[in-house]
């Protein structure tokens, strides 16, 4: 399967040039870029590991791309995403989020059904990869 979280997962994977253009857009809006990675891509896993703190003072897209590449080199078999934080009043929330790295093989998720009374089913979405410990989940 192909994990389709983020803004651009239905497009072919972004090139460095395309990533740089998106970073430049975020910076132009005054947002702070941040890099996060995980090997637990469950849709409800909100808190991916942070690659440092959001780069509030880094305004150079090339510098941010360097951080992204550094993260990708360190975690080539993880999902890596770029998030842009907007601190303006009334938003104070991420305004962009897109994947910049994914494992070569994505086994995806199973749906665990627990049958209850009245045909009700309790559903659990379970990543096939998380059976292995963190850090060794993707080939």
């Amino acid at each position: 399967m192909r994990l389709t979280q983020g803004q651009f997962s239905f497009l072919p994977d972004l090139s460095d040039e395309q990533i740089t253009a998106q970073i430049a857009y975020g910076l132009k809006q005054g947002w702070a870029l941040n890099v996060e990675y995980t090997d637990d891509p469950h849709p409800r896993n909100t808190y991916w590991e942070m690659w440092g703190i959001p780069m509030f003072d880094l305004k150079d897209p090339a510098g941010i791309l360097m951080e992204i590449n550094e993260c990708r080199r360190t975690y080539p078999r993880h999902y890596v995403r770029v998030t842009a934080f907007d601190s303006s009043r009334g938003w104070e929330t991420p305004r962009m989020s897109f994947l910049v790295n994914r494992p070569a093989d994505e086994p995806g998720f199973g749906l665990v059904r627990q049958e209850g009374p009245g045909r009700q089913v309790r559903y659990t979405v379970r990543s096939y990869a998380v059976d292995r410990p963190e850090g060794s989940r993707y080939a």
């Binding site: 253009a21 849709p43 842009a84 929330t93 009700q120 559903y123």
Partner: protein, 496 residues
């Protein structure tokens, strides 16, 4: 075109004023050309078409009177109250540009009326509307009447909960940022069994949509009872979520004949793990407010379908503008509301829709006559409402939709997903690819209004479903003149 000069004034002598009998509203104290609205006043602007022979100021005063304290004759019991405070005051009457003498249309006027905040119960849309659109719309002295806009004072806004979730929190819960959300209404609206219905939901969500949706008139009918629909839809939602790794949802319409049944359906939706429920505007203001409180308490997103609104919002001379509905619904506390597409099959002038969208999404909307906004409005940190664009739109219009509507919107392609020649999943994928390609191009600095068609063509080169969508619907557009447009002269007089 200036404001009409004062032609009549309140009778100041109390004995004379309260003599039994009938005197003009303007003379009863419902017209005051020198009145300066207080920051705590609620202001309404009505489009008034007076009956022949009725003076515009008297008509405006009558509207002020009938929407506040007046009855048709003088009553001495007024004198037991601080009646001057409770009287609404018409304070300004402007002729509507393009109407009256020398034009083809009968004379219409914009009448501005100020209401003291104590006329209204805190936190009650029902009470607010019972005054403002209560008796007065049937009043004989006006031939037609339309509520165009309202300025709600911050003090009154603060008595309302506002949207249960709001755009910011909805996006955080769904983990979806930086692009419009995508949805589709299950079709056909009526007749599918629960099992067949859930099939459509699964296909749409797996193909790339964020939401599927019940239609306004899908409740609990002989062909599909509500529990069956809810169970199959949640199977579809969860299965699609596992297939894509994304949070997905289906707006389960909990509209029913009684409030008790609405709660029962909503609780069931929640117990099944749905992130969102849906209601129709026709359930009424109080029921909507109740559901907004319920949704806040239960961590649910509340979708509102505006079923019924066009019966009173479309025609320009009578009823009320949809922008007022938008204001009331933001106060009442819904998270989503259908607010027009500009390019689709339903009524929608671009400027009017801009006004609705700003009203739903911004923290402060400045006066903009061009967009139909008569007042500055401070929203006092009430959550933002996510507008929903639905009805006759397709992937080929993506550049137009994003240009007109921005990114904080749910784009709903019903026929444009389910009617795709390669199937529902392909239809959903076509829409999602078109959307992501257009947002990517916009962020890269492309002029999507002009380059849109070529951006779509480029994406269609590697995405067959998009190519098929573009081929199927390339010539479909709904170019009819809008009924509801702004009446204003671009160079406003000093009185504005």
């Amino acid at each position: 075109m200036g404001a009409i000069e004062e032609i009549s004034g309140e009778v100041m002598d109390a004995k004379e004023r309260y003599k039994s009998g009938v005197i003009p509203y303007a003379k009863m104290g419902y017209w005051d050309a020198h009145y300066e609205p207080k920051v705590t006043d609620l202001i309404a602007v009505f489009r008034i078409t007076p009956q022949e022979g009725v003076d515009a100021i008297e008509a405006a005063a009558a509207v002020a009177g009938e929407s506040s304290t007046a009855t048709w004759t003088v009553v001495w019991t007024d004198r037991l109250t601080a009646c001057d405070v409770y009287r609404a005051k018409a304070y300004r009457v402007d002729p509507v540009p393009g109407t009256g003498a020398g034009t083809e249309k009968e004379a219409q006027y914009f009448g501005y009326i100020a209401y003291d905040i104590d006329l209204f119960e805190p936190g009650s849309i029902a009470n607010l509307t019972a005054s403002i659109i209560g008796n007065v719309f049937g009043f004989k002295a006006v031939k037609a009447l339309r509520l165009e806009d309202m300025r709600i004072p911050v003090a009154y806004l603060k008595t309302f909960q506002g949207p249960a979730t709001g755009i910011v929190v909805e996006r955080e819960r769904l983990d979806k940022f930086g692009r419009p959300l995508l949805g589709a209404t299950t079709k056909p609206k009526l007749g599918l069994s629960g099992r067949n219905y859930g099939r459509v939901v699964y296909e749409g969500l797996k193909g790339g949509l964020d939401f599927m949706k019940d239609d306004e008139n899908i409740n609990s009918q002989p062909f599909m009872h509500w529990r069956d629909r809810f169970l199959y839809c949640m199977e579809a939602v969860n299965k699609a979520s596992a297939a894509t790794g994304e949070v997905k949802g289906h707006y389960l319409n909990v509209t029913a004949g009684t409030m008790e049944e609405i709660y029962e359906r909503a609780e069931f939706a929640k117990s099944l793990g749905s992130v969102i429920v849906m209601i129709d505007l026709v359930i009424g203001y109080t029921a909507i407010q109740s559901m907004a409180k319920w949704a806040r308490k239960k961590d649910m997103i509340l979708h509102l379908h505006r079923a019924g609104n066009s019966t009173y919002s479309r025609q320009k001379n009578h009823g009320m503008s949809f922008r007022v509905i938008c204001k009331w619904m933001r106060m009442a506390g819904v998270d989503h509301i259908h607010a027009g597409t500009v390019v689709g099959k339903l009524e929608g002038d671009p400027n009017m829709i801009r006004g609705y969208y700003d009203t739903l999404r911004e923290n402060h909307t400045p006066m903009s006559l061009e967009n139909g906004l008569f007042f500055d409005q401070d929203w006092a940190s009430l959550n933002r409402v996510m507008p929903v664009a639905s009805g006759g739109i397709h992937a080929g219009q993506m550049h137009q939709l994003i240009t007109y509507l921005g990114e904080d919107v749910v784009l709903q392609f019903g026929g444009g997903t389910i009617g795709h020649p390669m199937g529902i999943q392909a239809g959903a994928t076509a829409n999602r690819v078109a959307l992501e390609a257009m947002i990517q191009a916009r962020n890269e600095g492309h002029d999507i209004w002009n380059e849109g068609p070529s951006i779509l063509q480029n994406a269609a080169r590697w995405c067959k479903p998009l190519q098929a969508a573009l081929d199927t619907w390339k010539d479909i557009s709904f170019n009819y003149a809008s009924t509801d447009t702004a009446d204003f002269v671009p160079t406003a007089t000093a009185s504005f």
